[in-house]
Amino acid sequence: MGATEIPAEPQRVVVLDTDKIDTALSLGVTPIGAARASEAELPGYLGDLSGVAVVGTTAEPDLEAIEALEPDLILGSKFRQEAFYDELNAIAPTVFTEQVGVTWKENFLLDGDALGKGEEAKGLLEAYEARAAEFGASLGDALATQVSLVRFMPDQIRYYGPDSFSGIVLGDVGLARPELQQLNGAEDRRFGEVSAEELDTVGGDVVFYCAYGTDGEAMLAEYTAGELWQSIPAVQGGKAYPVDDEIWMTGIGVTAAGLILDDLEKHLAA
């Protein structure tokens, strides 16, 4: 979106996407304002965010609330807030990242640079990758465990592929994925949809599942109580674990990635 002059050490940062909250806090910068996802509040896994003003939703940021905070840097996502770029940039220097999920590591480094913490960002990312690789090595034969990712949305059930945020984390560890969820040959390898009638086809030796929003949770409650879900071998073997959607799905950042590793260590380490 063009060149932007940004302050060397921004003090008053507003973040307009969930991944940026993770990024800022991972780097020790508490944003003064943050947009929330439309179905949710600010993420809970990042600790106490009561001092962070909510400035609308990621799709419809509250421009006047942002202006009133007098930020010196705004971090956003092009695909979400492109229409608002001119207004945002008039309020404070605005940096947009292009995509979400697939490019989360690049986004983290770019946002880290914008926050004046490029080196720290690089260090944190390397530390995370080292930890993931180490954990993978410690698993030994268990690395061949096929890990299944299922998410209940208000209107559909999805499995997540290798280009999704949590899929990338699984890849960093080196864990195997069920055939279906590898999305081989697909143009978009982030996720696929599974019909409620074929819920038993998601596969995997271990299933991690979560729900988006309250409607998603209702879906989760309904379908995980159903026969199809109960017929999945991993479920029968007690190897299906509910996880936090904020961490595995909307989190997107080194802190969330670290917490996913915690979950994996808890459930996979023999």
């Binding site: 929330r36 439309s38 909510v54 400035v55 609308g56 939703t57 799709a59 419809e60 940021p61 509250d62 421009l63 006047e64 609330a65 202006e67 009133a68 695909f79 979400r80 807030q81 492109e82 229409a83 608002f84 001119d86 207004e87 008039a90 309020i91 979400v100 949305m153 978009d188």
Partner: protein, 377 residues
């Protein structure tokens, strides 16, 4: 002798009820007094709504400071000139365009339900915009795509309806059929799309002024300016739209040609507005009816419809961005709420009296015939 004198002093035209005739040389213009009054009231309402939209928000700016900001430099330059003024000006332009479009289309179709929302324009623009948003087209292509979609849908409707004589029921039926078809296409795209894209498309389909500003307002303003001569013509041509076809033909109106021209003008204005602010529904439907009922005219008056539409959209946008805390309610949600409630109120309280006072086509024709060539304004 006395008799001749009387005949001489008698005016050439009979007095028209509710109207004032302004004469200047050979030109005479009748002004519907109540319409003029309604226009004046809505102009005041519009000024009030614009003032509220500029002064009140997360930051309260006094009226004096607002005026000072508009004419010079204060600490509020960015709040007023970047955040509030552009979208408010756009709301005025888009609301006016939708009001006029609705008035034109309802007059041509002789049906108060025939608004751009019903006859396919909004649905066509919506389908094109949804495609642009879900297929990853560049953001700059969104408005042109929507404009094209709206016009294409309208062309399809006119084509389907124009076989024969573009009769009013045919026009509405064709519009409804095309709109339903296009809406189902939009649904398919939305279901197949990525959640984030679908969400953006949903907001567009509701209609919002958030993130829009001078570019859109300038485009729409230029459009309205270009359409002005056509609107002056339309104002007059509309007088014969509520006559039945044989009567209109009888007094020398080229019914089909005139109707197509008026309908095209309406759909072009609607497409232009919808392309800039999204598929804001209901303004085009409600504004002309509110204006007509208050002015007690037999068909929607153009200027009053424009002003009503502008007031509705400015208010909807202002309330949407201020009344719901951190949640920015898209204007399209509130236009329906505001316009719908008010229209129902009018229907409940003023319905029957109005219909009695409105002269039917025949009495109007008689008045016209007696009045000679007077121009309605």
């Amino acid at each position: 002798m006395t008799r001749t004198e009387l005949q001489r002093s008698e005016p050439r035209t009979l007095p028209l009820p509710g109207r004032t005739v302004l004469r200047s040389g050979d030109l005479s213009i009748t002004v519907h007094r109540r319409s003029a009054l309604v226009c004046a009231l809505f102009l005041i309402a519009l000024l009030g709504a614009v003032t509220a939209a500029l002064c009140l928000g997360d930051t309260y700016i006094t009226f004096a400071d607002t005026i000072a900001t508009l004419t010079g430099t204060t600490g509020y330059d960015r709040t007023i000139e970047v955040l509030r003024l552009p979208r408010t000006v756009l709301a005025v332009a888009a609301g006016a365009a939708l009001g006029i479009a609705g008035a034109l289309i309802q007059s041509v179709a002789r049906n108060p339900l025939a608004s751009p929302d019903i006859i396919g324009v909004t649905a066509g623009a919506g389908l094109a915009a949804t495609f642009a948003l879900t297929a990853g087209l560049a953001y700059a292509l969104l408005a042109p795509a929507a404009l094209t979609g709206g016009l294409a849908a309208a062309a399809l409707v006119l084509l389907a309806a124009a076989r024969g004589s573009l009769s009013a029921p045919r026009f509405v039926l064709a519009g409804v059929a095309v709109a339903v078809l296009l809406k189902s296409g939009t649904q398919i795209l939305l279901l197949a799309a990525d959640a984030i894209d679908a969400q953006r498309a949903q907001i567009w389909l509701i209609g919002t002024l958030a993130g829009r500003g001078w570019t859109e307002a300038a485009f729409l303003g230029a459009f309205l300016l270009l359409a002005l001569p056509a609107l002056v013509w339309a104002q007059r041509a509309l007088d014969t739209t509520d006559l039945d076809d044989p009567t209109a033909t009888g007094i020398g109106v080229r019914v089909t040609r005139q109707r197509i021209a008026l309908a095209v003008l309406g759909v072009v204005l609607a497409s232009a507005a919808v392309a800039q602010v999204g598929a804001v529904e209901f303004v085009a439907l409600a504004a002309p009816q509110i204006a007509r009922r208050l002015a007690r005219t037999s068909r929607p008056p153009l200027l009053a419809s424009a002003l009503t539409g502008a007031v509705l959209l400015v208010l909807a946008d202002w309330i949407g961005r201020t009344a719901f805390g951190d949640y920015q309610m898209p204007a399209g949600v509130l236009t329906a709420a505001l316009g719908g409630v008010y229209l129902i109120y009018l229907l409940l309280t003023k319905g029957t009296r109005n219909e009695k006072q409105t002269p039917g086509p025949w009495s109007r024709l008689r008045l016209r015939a007696r009045a000679g060539r007077v121009r309605d304004l």
